[in-house]
Subunit: 663 residues, 2 copies
């Protein structure tokens, strides 16, 4: 690929970016788009909606940049939670790496990493101190409850905890298998919505809809028909529930009277058999992932192995599209394979397009399929909360990206060749040193396509905009009940940002040309995500910055990768002394990493006694505590087991289900 | 090496073994040797000593075999503790491997491993239930106490635990730096012993000794001189102690009112900074290793890295003697290097001796230097108890042996060559498959020399016998106060036994000729160590079978090693299908190992709530509990800080220091 191809790619993407920015600043001023661009605002100001029209609304304005920049970090924290702040700090921090790394490098990177880790762990403690009483702080999840002889699981749990934690045990909720009920409820919910729409709309629409749904059926009042169906489903739900009372799963949420009490049960092995009474921190009630609740130790363990195998298979099979993409950057090879394209490819622009823009676009499209697969893998592993699933998918996706985008492109060979390279560790530095610099231009193009464009399309929110547009076109109006503020897709965004960081550190001294592109990416990203956090995404659950260790580890990985490439390059350039002198650097970096792991990691895993007891003491004199503990006993109810009543309340404004979820 | 060389080696060692056995069965009947062969008996029957002479005492008899066989496992447990039982079971178990492995192999080995792990973990729990109240069950060690502002460490510890563990905290003992005092006390003890001997002996000896010590000094009553010196030292000790009051170390033993209370403080991170208030299980008071008490997190961490580097350096440097030994087995090479030996080596017997017996003897001698070095390394790492140091040294020694004896001999190349082999994992199977079978005869010789002879010399106790003999010759009588029942040197014995097991599993289908030799070794070992546990060794401290995971891991390692060799051999023999079909075997073995680690490992790390609370409940109604808790407060006193008074009590039978240690 030559410079012109690179420039074509940059040009196309710059154009796209400006288009998106311009459209964004116009569209966001349209009140109809408020659910797309400022759902947070929408939720707050639902009441005081106004629909004036003025000319300003049609002018592109950079005002959102100012508004996204202004709030301080603490304000951001209060609005969007610590996860968002941690995510934002990723941008500042890399920014800093690319400013400083040019001068002092690994030392500075490590120093910054240390400071950041320290800063975020202090923030995490401060966040805990300032947090309100929350059910998950008082609760643990117990899995692998041994099969009871004669009594129910519920009785077994109660006996066990009354026996061994008499002073702190409060209550428990045994988990039940509810997938059937859940699907019935989902059906009911859909029907309920349709019914609601139907009642709100006029009779003409009702007739239209009738014809639309059952062209050859006899004409009945569709609203009555729906209501009858709804009642049937509700009866089914009730029936299922009563028959299901015995279908307990050997897992339970156990609540304690104090945070320290739950920490005691969490940290100390409970039963003699370590695969029974397995304790785990409970997630926030709304964060619980009910559908796939695998409870026994063996089951989870086997699923984990299955997932690891499937993950490896996917990672290796994914090399096929990557190799195809690689073919595109080598035009000459493509021409020999597909001779009929010769004429077309000889046009300069087409050639540049194919080598410069197409490969990274195709890669980008293929990659967009992967995050849902990773989420599926992680949910199979038996994690009990959305946040854990996201975190696990995030790690999976990161290494998937590194392997498939970085190594596969750099080494540009078959899967077997790749695996072979990694089976001979001695050769790795020299192979990488030859291959990595050769792919610099591809990665610059990748930064521009995948980075810049994805950032601007993130701002533009193309897909939600289309959805919203279609809905308004067909349904006629936005369905307010249906509307939910979106959650930041951390699992797909973090690996992308981190991958650029790995590129930046690795190419730092091989092809510094990549740095300005990355710099633009980080600056853009900083301001765009700030804007999105303030206007678009709402935190559904809060992990307290648990994503940070992933960031830390990937930075260390990229540093070591850079060192290995450096060793290889010094070796290739016949500077064995320099090569040998570089060897201690990765060793020292890994030792530094080990130190950080010991120094900070425990804070991200659990809160220490000091914090727990202090928070508990605060509660002791609080009169609202009894009320909270009463609520706590029912906090971990499966939403499928909560009371539903659609048929009677069909004309109420908000559905009981939505209310139940918000408890 | 040819068959005759092997036979020579077997012959020599058989001879040595029979000699040792014969001598043992005669010498053990001599009352004078009771401290060497049955110190346990000696301690018990000190009072009822009798010195009759009869002819039977001079006849070799196999009666000890019967006596070593008779006691059941439970009796052995009651006499020598669980560690001894675990050690004994190693012998039965391998025995079993070699019986069964011939038929069903890996599956059976894994099944047996699982059963053994299960059995031992159940034993461990049962041991805990049946154990008496012991101070270390109620105590934790806290290191990294943050520097106090204004107050002492002792005050800081008290404040912290009263604040955060008000209901369970009992007392604490801050550790002090006492190496100076300890050396003074040692001096005093030596003097005290001399004085005791002097007083007990007649005046002629007193005169002799005087001349012996200071040939040109003026003649004084040596007893008075010693007593004065002793008083000086005692004054010094008192002075040091008073000046040392401030020299506290930021570490303390903290005792709690219940076992569960100490478990809570142990398992939950205490301070916000994970490198402060680092908690750790306290060892038994007499197991504490006082001299090298490194207290801060950073210091221990740096020492650990230093030890790792030193360990690697030693392991690699040790290849030099190994290579020399290797040279001996290749006579032709030796002859080219040292041509003047040609004449000597051409004698068949000398040649056989050099190739058959000498190499493993030299190796054996070199190896005997290593255990003390490993103990030194482990003590540098900052472990606080003798048992932890032993366990760590045991692991170090095992991998040292595997690397230096197995790999270095098998691959018989320079250190660099060895490292190179392991940097190309793809080649490992084929390289091993070529080299491992070639060295079978060397390892058979090694089993015979190192295994058989070390077992019989273990029974014969050559070194202690010589010591005892010399002492009697020069001092005239055994010094009873000086006498201590020896402790089983697990750290050097376990790696040796395990190494033979690794050899057995690895050579199982390459050179089954090694199996009968190993079988003899295990049968011998079983009966000899049973004898030694019953008669010689006393358990000084008890880890509750914590050595077992090392045994388990090394068996898994040897299985995987065998699989790799098998893969290589099938590859060499052009059976790629068989080779590929073997690949899942090590993977499955490792998965099995992972399962065992999850299923059993936690039991070896800590006792679960269920056990702790049950034991605590038992104590609640026990009237002796208050008395125990009072004693607990002073259980972890540094022996150097206990009252000593030699000068006055110099004519008493037992020294106050020895009494103090036994508290």
């Amino acid at each position: 690929m030559i410079l012109s191809a690179l420039l074509t790619s940059v040009g196309i993407n710059l154009g796209l970016c400006f288009l998106f920015f311009a459209l964004y600043s116009i569209l966001r001023n349209q009140p109809g788009n408020i659910t797309v661009y400022s759902p947070l605002l929408f939720n707050e100001r639902k009441a005081q909606q106004q629909d004036e029209f003025n000319l300003e609304r049609l002018l592109p304005s950079p005002g959102w940049v100012k508004r996204a920049w202004q709030p301080s970090e603490d304000e951001l924290l209060s609005i969007t939670g610590l996860d968002a702040v941690v995510f934002m700090r990723m941008f500042i921090f890399w920014l800093w790496i690319h400013f400083c790394a040019a001068y002092v490098f690994t030392g500075v990177v490590c120093y910054l990493l240390y400071c950041e880790y320290n800063y975020i762990s202090l923030k995490r403690i401060a966040y805990f101190y300032s947090s309100k009483r929350q059910p998950h702080q008082f609760t643990i999840l117990v899995r692998g409850i041994p099969a009871p002889s004669g009594s129910s699981f519920s009785q077994t749990v109660e006996n066990f905890f009354i026996e061994y934690h008499p002073s702190t045990y409060l209550s428990h909720t045994v988990v039940r298998r509810t997938s059937k009920i859940q699907s019935l409820i989902n059906d009911a919910e859909k029907l309920y919505r349709k019914l609601g729409n139907l009642k709100a709309s006029n009779s003409q629409q009702r007739f239209m809809r009738d014809g639309f749904l059952g062209l050859f059926g006899r004409k009945v009042d569709i609203a009555d028909h729906y209501e009858k169906k709804l009642q049937d489903i509700e009866d089914n739900v009730r029936l299922e529930r009563s028959s299901l009372a015995g279908e307990e799963v050997p897992a339970a949420f156990v609540s304690f009277k104090s945070r320290f009490g739950s920490a005691i049960a969490l940290h100390i092995q409970q039963g003699i058999n370590p695969t029974e009474w397995v304790t785990e921190r409970a997630p926030e009630p709304k964060d619980v992932y009910w559908p796939f609740f695998s409870e026994s130790f063996m089951k989870r363990w086997i699923f984990k192995i299955v997932v690891v195998v499937a993950y490896i298979a996917l990672t290796i099979l994914f090399l096929i599209p990557v190799v195809v993409v690689q073919g595109l950057t080598h035009l000459d090879q493509l021409e020999t394979w597909l001779p009929f394209l010769k004429g077309l490819l000889s046009l300069t622009f087409v050639g540049d397009l194919v080598t410069g823009y197409l490969p990274s676009l195709i890669l980008h499209l293929f990659l967009s399929v992967v995050p849902p697969i990773m989420i599926f893998f992680s949910s199979m592993q038996g994690y009990i909360s959305h946040s854990q699933i996201e975190k696990s998918a995030c790690t999976k996706l990161l290494w998937f990206t590194v392997w498939n985008i970085f190594f596969a492109n750099v080494l540009s060979g078959s899967a077997l060749y790749l695996v072979n390279v990694f089976l001979e560790p001695k050769k790795i530095p020299s192979v990488l040193a030859e291959a990595v610099p050769a792919q610099a231009s591809f990665f610059i193009a990748y930064v521009v396509t995948s980075g810049w464009t994805s950032l601007s399309s993130e701002l533009f929110r193309l897909f939600p905009l289309l959805c919203s547009f279609m809905k308004r076109l067909f349904v006629g109006k936005d369905d307010d009940d249906d509307f939910e503020v979106p959650q930041m897709p951390y699992h797909s965004e973090i690996p992308r940002v981190l991958f650029f960081e790995i590129l930046g550190v690795t190419y730092f001294f091989l092809a510094p040309l990549i740095l300005p592109f990355l710099l633009v990416y980080y600056c853009l990203g900083y301001i765009i995500y700030r804007n999105q956090f303030l206007n678009v995404y709402a935190p559904k659950y809060e992990t307290g910055g648990k994503f940070w260790p992933i960031v830390h580890n990937s930075t260390i990985f990229s540093l070591v990768l850079m060192h290995i490439v450096a060793i290889g390059i010094f070796g290739l350039k016949k500077l064995p002394l320099a090569s040998s002198l570089t060897i201690p650097l990765p060793v020292l970096t890994l030792i530094f990493n080990e130190y950080c792991r010991k120094r900070f990691r425990p804070i991200f895993k659990a809160y220490p006694t000091e914090c727990l007891i202090k928070k508990d003491r605060e509660d002791q004199n609080d009169p609202t505590m009894t009320e909270f503990l009463e609520k706590l006993a029912t906090a971990y109810q499966d939403p499928a087991l909560m009371p539903v009543q659609y048929s009677r309340s069909a004309d109420g404004r908000s559905s009981p289900l939505l209310r139940a979820v918000e408890v």
